[in-house]
Subunit: 238 residues, 6 copies
């Protein structure tokens, strides 16, 4: 039995508030259980130098946590004057994941900044960020199409992510923090709406795991992402 | 006539959601018009060295803005690796303002961190932060009293803040961003519930102003803060 | 009775050595009692990007303290690798104050850097910096006019500043460090030669203060600045 | 046919020079084709605070590249003043991988620093670092045992790593840089000598990949690591 | 003929104002021609960790330049957030030079911070700093002796420094900036009052120089330092 | 008798492996006894702004040490986020030394980056870096000539460096770390193949030294560099 009574293959309750911010080109507040992340997409009318050469646009991501989002207050990275390794790893992951479903050529000379800011954290913040940023990205792209800044939709597929892991010897889906902190294996899977893999990152926390465990976690993740994809569809006009 | 049809001495609509965060010792989401700030109070069981010597507690504040909170995306200070002068000025102001109503001796060996994070900004973020942080502080102190960590209430008074300014030659209360960006004079006033001044910061944006203008702005601020104090009372158990 | 026998409305002895530095476009050493600040104005033949767009010049300020200027050696900010919040607040204040009396359009494509470096500090370093930088600025502008780089004098008024405060329950003018360190209220006032306000920054150090106290401090400040303005005139050719 | 004529499941030539450095507790130079990494293990007689509480030792890793190790000179991170996100990701991966085979309790109050410095890079530097650091770690642990500083061997298993990927539609083992730069999928696998998984990190570079591709890459990686494990054994006395 | 009409072996005019700062334990303003440096010595009642182990005191130096000290305004290192290589080289040189004449054991558990701040620079600022810091150091040590904090004088000798160089093919003493900027060879010599060498740093600016040139410069430096030593004596009570 | 049985005027065993790196334009591994430094020269097709104005090329150097190169692991400067004063001093010295033998005009619009990375340190790393970087520089220049990027050889002379010092009262050549750490005087001499001086940096470590000692050290250095020059010739095609 899981700590919050869920079945092993059950996601937490998901709530999505779209158009959460007045100013961003796209935004939502995504809640997966007690994890709450503000996701936004902001369009900038320039691209990094290497994109200029290749005549393409860019999609990049940044990630942050409010100091009081976790059970212990976490020091502000702005005050410490540098990003932790964890933050950098996460924002690189979000950026790569979202770029995997975008045809950057069609974005022309625009950069889309995806920001994921954790208001409250209870495990799975990076996967919720990816799932939410996709919705913000869709809104921003719709706006660019409507404004005529781009003429073809550069989004090729949807993308969502979920965590899986092994807790107390059992593979489980969508770990909350209490599970995550005692998991033996921790894995994040990013997948497209059409069922292709974008990222698979499995890590032995305590001790190494077998290939069979890997396979079981993969199956759980696939099921979870299929449900997330269905939910995303409701909030995005195609 | 003001841009949003308010009278010169009229505050924007205020909404306060208390206990906004699950983990912080105290928290609220304060909205003044389109300005939305998450305020939280986190208790830490240690104090800075100079407080140890004087056997007192400490109250300090930090302030941040989400990148997509404003009309143009603002770069993350964590990514730039340093706090802007503006941010430091604001967090020093919030900290000083809240300390002015706390008897630090009674806080014993605890530090209370106040965090103000702007989710959406439309002018007056620093004053909304002060008004909201007071509520978060009250909650945190109640918790410390209930847990028996402190035995006497260290809070001596309430505190709230508001901006006033001169726009188009007219003194007005509680400027929104559209007003703020073209104001000739900009002033922030911090006052206690008992009507004492904590901070008065008036700045000529365009050109110097007369003493008469200063006096008019002060009166507007006093009225505004009286209303804010009444609202704060509803959310704080005395 | 004040610690240095002055009357409540009495300034400390002021000494100004103009043209203190060989290389700067303008400079002076200003002494207010034991507070000694080297003020200089350096002209640079370029402006920040936002000034280029608006076709105007720029005036900006930086502030520093020699490590041995105070009773305890203070660590160099250059060695610590960052400016303290206090330093940034002060240099923003000096910059704003001096810009308030300059028609930037007439400065054309020049930036004037004002540097205030405290050789010895005994309270009121930021206000002495403003009073002294005005003199350095005047010299630099005269030089630009003589050299024909600008054709119209961009300086609209003079500007000076003074501190006031409440010490032992009494409002007093121009606090020395011994007074400043035990003041209940601390206020800096920046005013033009024509008697207009540029900045009013009043802070409750210990406990909040009444509006009546604010008014008394304002009157003291006005008298003090009137005297400073008269002294400045002697050192500036109009 | 691969660019360097290897078969799809063929590793590059591996050369290991053990005891490469005079001063480190353990060290080797590992070469996989043209990729050359100096790996070392240095013992420090203290542990981070959180280890003190749990009465255990620590293993951590740092990674760097010589400026001239790659085809284009890369700027020194020491000169830029900060570690790139890539470097931090890699050193976190190396540290986690090596900790997965160590019983930290038996390391007592010692920290082992693993340093991987790329002298020449031609793809697969992070996996070569893990494979080489294991050898350096073994040497350092042997030394600690001989010196009697620890009494039980804390190493539970061996560990090695390899990259796999999809190039031109074909899953291949141990990519050189020329392959890596045009790979459609890139995956790093870390495995113990007993065949358990420690890390699986697969990333779609160009476009998302199928689960079948993931399975094929996993099989290639398993075969490759089995060979690496056999080679490591020769250099480590059991 | 030299640019300022001096003979090749002639020092610039030297002026020393001792006890220049009210708060420092020792201080002077040293002027060598137009080069003006504020030198101070501040005593701190603690030592770095490695001195604690060896039960000795410490002498260290820091160096800075006011932004307007040179013909072009130089950016503040505090604003840039780091010390230039030049600054670090100079402060290491000043520190080493002064330590060479101090018996650190007799300084007990005190650190003496020497600060050299260039108010105006016209060549030879590092050598003037050494010559002036010796005077500040002497004052600070006298104070420590008088206060009974140390019981034996730790100063073993005096120390002074001068620059020499080759300008227009001629070896010259004590270069001003105009000479320095076109010198073919630049050398700084630090010597004790008893005629021993502390530092010799000769650098070919344009092209390499002969050993004979080195010898001639050494002789010039020796003569110059002998004069500086005589001047220092007047300001220091032995 | 010296610690490693060498005569006072005897160099340590020198080994040079040229073309040590596949990618750099020039490179070697230089070993002087147990000191091992990878030296490389990388050509970049741009120059710093001040060189553009003067229509010349540039030669600059950077220096680093592997963490495990010394008897105690040294923390990575990249992790600490800044270069130590020692590192900056050394890289400035290497850069100046190599520039002294290059006609920058003939380098046209190219920058040559010299990197010296200490794999193992046993004293004299900065002098070995200079001696080795000369060889790397020669290779890079040959390549530029062959490729027709420059048409005239900009190298005017060879350059080499050696340390001398006083150990146990005796002047000795080429100190190893055990000697260096107890030397009374430490001196680095940089000289051209034609016997001209480029840099002379002598420092009293413990106590000041006589001019006679300086002369003896200079003679030792001259002999040592003559031998190094002969060795360099073997590895460089003229």
């Amino acid at each position: 039995m899981r700590i919050d009574k869920r079945k092993n293959d059950q996601l937490r309750k998901i709530t999505i508030h779209t158009h959460f911010l007045k100013n961003a080109h796209g935004s939502c507040l995504i809640e997966m259980g007690d994890t709450k992340v503000v996701c936004s997409a902001s369009v900038e009318a320039k691209v990094p130098p290497f994109c200029k050469l290749e005549e393409k646009g860019w999609v990049t991501a940044e990630y942050g946590m409010l100091p009081a989002s976790c059970s212990e207050r976490i020091a502000r990275e702005a005050s410490k004057g540098k990003l932790s390794g964890r933050t950098q790893e996460i924002q690189r992951l979000i950026g790569r994941s979202l770029r995997s479903i975008v045809d950057l050529k069609k974005l022309k000379d625009r950069t889309i900044w995806l920001d994921a800011d954790v208001i409250q954290g209870d495990g799975g913040t990076r996967t919720a960020s990816i799932t939410g940023c996709y919705i913000a990205l869709e809104q921003a792209v719709q706006k660019l199409l409507i404004e005529g800044i781009i003429t073809e939709n550069p989004i090729l597929d949807s993308v969502a992510a979920v965590s899986v892991g092994v807790v107390g010897g059992m593979p489980v889906l969508d770990l909350c923090y209490a599970e995550d902190s005692k998991a033996e294996v921790d894995m994040n899977v990013v997948m497209t709406g059409s069922g292709k893999l974008v990222e698979v990152q499995g890590t032995a926390e305590g001790k190494p795991f077998t290939e069979l465990t890997l396979q079981k976690m993969l199956q759980l993740a696939k099921q979870g992402i299929r449900k997330l994809t269905a939910i995303q569809k409701k909030y995005v006009q195609s």
